[in-house]
Every structure is written in structure tokens, then in C-alpha cells.
Symmetry: C2
Subunit: 414 residues, 2 copies
Amino acid sequence: MAMRIASKSAGTVGEEAQGRAKRADFTDVRANNLGFVLRQVRAEGRCSRADLAAKTGLNKATVSSLVAELIERRVLRESGSVIGNIGRPAVLLSVDTGYYASLGVEVNVDYMTLVAVDLAGNRLLSWRRAHDGAGSTSGRSVSALAGLAKRAVDKMDAEGRQILGLAVAVPGMIDNAGVVQRAPMLGWEEFDLTGRLRQAMRDPKYAVTADNDANLGAVAEQRFGSWAGVSNMIYLTGEIGLGAGLIVDGELRRGATGFAGEIGNLLIDVDGRVGRVEDMAGISAVLKALSESDDIAGAEVEAEVEDVVTRARAEEPRVLEALDRIGRSLGAGIALAVDLLNPEAVVLGGHYHALSPWIGPAAERELAARTHASGAGGTEIVVSTLGHEAPALGAATGILNDIDAGKMPTPLGS
Amino acid sequence: MAMRIASKSAGTVGEEAQGRAKRADFTDVRANNLGFVLRQVRAEGRCSRADLAAKTGLNKATVSSLVAELIERRVLRESGSVIGNIGRPAVLLSVDTGYYASLGVEVNVDYMTLVAVDLAGNRLLSWRRAHDGAGSTSGRSVSALAGLAKRAVDKMDAEGRQILGLAVAVPGMIDNAGVVQRAPMLGWEEFDLTGRLRQAMRDPKYAVTADNDANLGAVAEQRFGSWAGVSNMIYLTGEIGLGAGLIVDGELRRGATGFAGEIGNLLIDVDGRVGRVEDMAGISAVLKALSESDDIAGAEVEAEVEDVVTRARAEEPRVLEALDRIGRSLGAGIALAVDLLNPEAVVLGGHYHALSPWIGPAAERELAARTHASGAGGTEIVVSTLGHEAPALGAATGILNDIDAGKMPTPLGS
């Protein structure tokens, strides 16, 4: 038996004692239980109050009171009924998908994405716009973001939906106070993005927050991706910049000051060439090796990648060779991160999706050949099924996660 | 405000509900509460049953019952009394340091270490032996380990102490089944160390376990080091091999299959030379650059490091120059891991302790210059105060952590 270190113990509390100690702080227990019931309904799809009592171990009176509050808060709704064993119809509950909307946007070098989801995570909006983030001033990027967000807010308003919050995904380092410390691809440094965005949106009632794009991509993958629920995962953004979001033992890890996941500086040695993994295996490497234009403005990245895909499909030797080298470079970089973190899966996001038929197999071979552990310690390289939408979707999802944790919204006018 | 992702919510349970659902499984709640009371006594040093009731929120009858069991199990003992406010003397409780012993051993390239601690973590034994782990067969290493452990067991027996367990720290990759998958420095591959050791010790009643030396060093640092209690830490072993133990958000992280923390392959580029951080900044690099003998057997590493220290104190230019380069190399490697994990502290263990006056400042400068985040994202490089003892101490500590988590020992004859 391997020794498992129970260091967790230092921070945990016996359940009975925890229940008691916290019972004094009633609102805390109540919030936890509201979140707990909501997550049960999510897991079941539709269920009765009696089902909830059985599943949660809470008594029926407590369940009824919690459900009443969740309905009042428009988080749950009654949706039909079934005839139970004892012949009385039981009212079924489901997540109320009709009232709230959570907004996530991403600003990147070559595009902006906006995703709106309802409380069940269904997409209400999924917009993508070309945006020259690299060539724009921070002010123009904020205006463009605010414009996109306002259009979404108006549309949600028209549908009678209340906005839960607006979260922004940024390819850069965001500190724990929400300030973008550095987003080199966008030319931002110590930039109070959320403050400026609030201003541009005339101080909305809902929260405006920001986080790193890779972190949020990982959050989206953990909830919606094909590897959803996996405990240890590295999500890699496949944009001009290369970033990582780390899920370790079931949770996103942001590090001590919020700056974890900067993977771009890892040095790799492939075919006798030594360089940073971002430079040798990022999407910039693809364009540098294969683009026919000398100077690619930010907004043209997607078209250029599409062109590369077309040429790869036509089996143009130079393209196949370059993609193989880039795939091997990516695998070499991934191997270093896998040696450190030993995840179940490395998920390739963004433009890697389109390029995966060519870079994926090469990356996998290189990973297996380079890790300390044999067979890469079990790590698989997989392609995101969420594509470019992941960071914005993750931004919107983070707001849902807060609600699931018991931070319940209050409907307008109540 | 930065958005903090409450992804934890998916796995947690409202306290009230948790209390109820688990109350069915009485032994579980009881075990948790036993651990909870023990940890409270640890934190307080000495305290009364009334103190415990106040601190834990458990009622007095429950506390009395838990304390009675802990005393019966020889985990707590009564030690004196104080006169309280109401005039009646209150009996004080403390951790029973007189009965149990937990054993940790480390086998490495050039030495073996054995540490025995009592239930409060006080050192009962701290032995270090030269051992040519690199030059020995696995069978001879097992015999030497068993011999060392048996002597400790006999000594504890003679003192009337019961052994809680024997845990082995190994510079290699140990899978979740406890098999050493690879320990290249020792020449082990797929080696059932714990099985062989049990055999050599004639199937003792206590558990025999194994884990990676860096993981266990991190566990020791988290409990006893000068950075004890820090939430995000990378512990680096400073032996011939270079390994990392990762504390992330308060807990040791072993990865999906137990192989996290392999840092040696990280590639660095210093003074125009490119190489693996283990080769350029590990203790092997020090010896390669500065040892006067051509071929260093495992057991001579310590003497060689001492010689380097003597020459550095004498300010021998070649030595100072080499140590500066090795320190910068170490900082370059640390910067890559810090970019990924953004810890509060990187703790240098093993031989780095003796060399730290020369390599520490160079490593810090290089770290600050190379990380993505300015000011290294707040990360400090510090030197272990536990030195070579850390992995064996961590091995012994892991057993205490299990007890703190509620896995209570049963005294012999009861």
C-alpha cells in the first residue's frame, strides 16, 4: 500500500462538530443547504421533494423550506407531477431555466467571444466577433467589450431575463484584486479592466469580474467537456499565447496570488532546436512556419489557421512536416508539465481543435517518450469539444458555480 | 474583485445534510470527532474537557466520551489540573507522548536516515548512516533498511513503546499500489519494496508503506518547518537526484497516479548552456564541477559537499564561480515551476542547506528575473530547517497525520 498522507486532516473538522459549530451561523448552513439541494436537482434533472429528502438526508420539512426559498428566488421551478406508489401525485422540481442569464466574454488577440447561459448551463447566446486585440488600445478593447456585452444584456432584457453577472476571460495574469497585471498579447499592464468595463457599462447592478482565459477554459471543461468531472486536468489554450488552467484534485488551482498556469516559458529541445514551448508549439509557431503573409494582424489568425487546415487536408508536404514538428514540440512541453502534475488528461483548446488531426498524434508520441513515468503516467492528450467558446463559457459557468455553492441570487423586485 | 471559481461546490455537501447523511455511519462520525478532539488538544498543548467542549462545539457528554476513548487508546493522557473560576479543579489533557512511536526511514544514494517520533512529533531517534544506495543491489539495500529499522524497533520495544508503523522515503516514483515504479538513482525498477521489507522484518503487525522522498519532505516541512502551515509550497530535495513535493491549497498533491513532482527534466538555459535542471543544478552538478576525485561512490557525497563548503568559505574563486552558476541554474529551474504553480515558498532541502549561502542569493535573483509574474509573483526561496532529516521525518509524520484524521491506533493487549 502506498502511504497516502492525510495532511487534509489539519484543516478539516469532524462532521458532527462542524454541524454544531456552524449551526450558530445559521445563514451559512442555510446557504450551504440551498446549494446542496440545487446540486441534487441538477444531478437528477427532475425530482420531487420526497426524492430530495431521501437523497440529501435532510428531513422533509427542511427540504420543503429550502425548496420554497429556491422557487421564490427563481432558481428552481415546479414542472409537472408524477403519480407515486401511494397514488398521490408528486410535484416535480427542476432548475428554473427561464429567468436568469449569466454572461461570459473573452477578449483575445484576434477575437471576442460572448456566451450567455441559463441556470442549467444551456447556451442562450454564443457570439464570436473578429477583434484586433493586439492592434487595439486598451480603451478601444474596453469599448468593444462593453458594446458586445450591452447588446447581450439588451437581448436578455427583452426576454425578461435578469443578468446574474458578467465575467471576462483575459489571456493574461489577473491578480487576486481583479487587476490585469500583465496581458502581453494585448499590451496591457496593471490594467483595471473590470473597473473600466463597469464604467463603460454605466455601473450595472450585477458583478463584473475577470480571470485568466486558461483558468476559465478549465472550469468550462470540468463542467461541460468530454472529460467533465475528471479530478486532475491541464487545459491548454490554443491561441496566439499558450496558457494552462490547472485542475488538481477536483478544483481549479490559481496559486498563492492568482498567477498559476503560466506554461509558455517552458523550454523544449526538438530536432536540435531549443526554444520556449509557446514560441515552438503555440499557434504563433503554426503561423510563423506556414502563413503566406508576412504580417498577420490579430484578426486574421482564424482565417490563416483555416488555410493551414485546407493545405494539410491536401497533404502539402511542407505543411504536414511543420505540423508534425509543432505537434512534437507541444508534446515535449506537455511532458514537462505532466512530470510535475501527473494529470489524467491534457485538454487542447482553441485553434488546436482544428489542427488536432495533425498535431495530436505527434504530441502523444512525444509525451510518452519524454515523461519520467512510463506510459506518461496514464496521461492522455485529448481535444476540447468546446473549442473557442471554452473561456467565455467558463466565465459564465463560474457564476453558476458560485450559486451552486450557496451564493443565491435575488430576483429583481423582490 | 477577481472571480474565484467555486468549483469546490460540486463535491461538497451542506454541513447539516452532511452531518445527517453520515450520522447513519456512526463509526465514521466517531472517527472524525476523535481526530478533531486530538487536533484541538495538539493546538492547545494542554486543555480541559470544558475547554474542548467550548472549542469544538460538541456537548460535554460527547467530549467526555471521546476523551475517554482517546485515553483508553493511549492517544491522550491526563496531566495535572488547574483551579478554574468556579473553584473546582479541572483535569488537564495532553497528547500521550509516552506510549507510541512512529518510524520513518529514508534510503538514498549515499545514506539512510531513520527518525522515530512520539505522538506529539518529538524526535525519539534521529539516525543517519552512510549507505552506498547507488552501488548496492536492491536486496542489500532492503537488508540494510531492515537492519536499521529492527534496531530502532528493538530500542522502542525496550522503552515499552508500541510501533505505529514504518514508512519509507524513496528517491523515485511510487505508484498508488506502493510499488516503486522507478528509482533510477538506486537502480530500482518495478520493485516491491514494502513487500520485501515486510518479509525481511518477518511480517510485523504494523503497516509498512513507501512514498516519494520529496513528497514526504514536503509533509515534514508543512508540519515542522519554518514555513509550516503555508498553503502553497514546493519542496525540493537537494540530493544527487532532484525531486519536488507539491503542497497546493494546503495539501500534498500526488497527481492522478502518484507521480507528480518530477521536476528534474525541466530544461534550462544558463550562460548559453542548455541542460536538464537536475544535471545543471542538482547536487550532482556541484560534485561534477568541483569534486577533486574522478569517481564518487554514493557514500562519499556528504564528505565531498563538506569539502566544497570549506573551499567556498575560503573564497576559492573557482568554487564561488561554480556555486554562483549552479545557484542561477537552480533559480532558472525554479522559475519554470513557479510560473506553473505560483507558490508562496520554494523550500530547499538536503545538501542545499549547507550550500545555501552561495547558491541561495543567485537562485533568488534568477527567479525574480525569469518568472512571468513581476517580483516572482511573491514566491520566496527559503532553506529547509529540517535538512536531511526531512523525508524520514515526513514519513513518520504521515502516520501521525493519519491518526489526526481519525485512524486511531489500538494499544497492544486491549
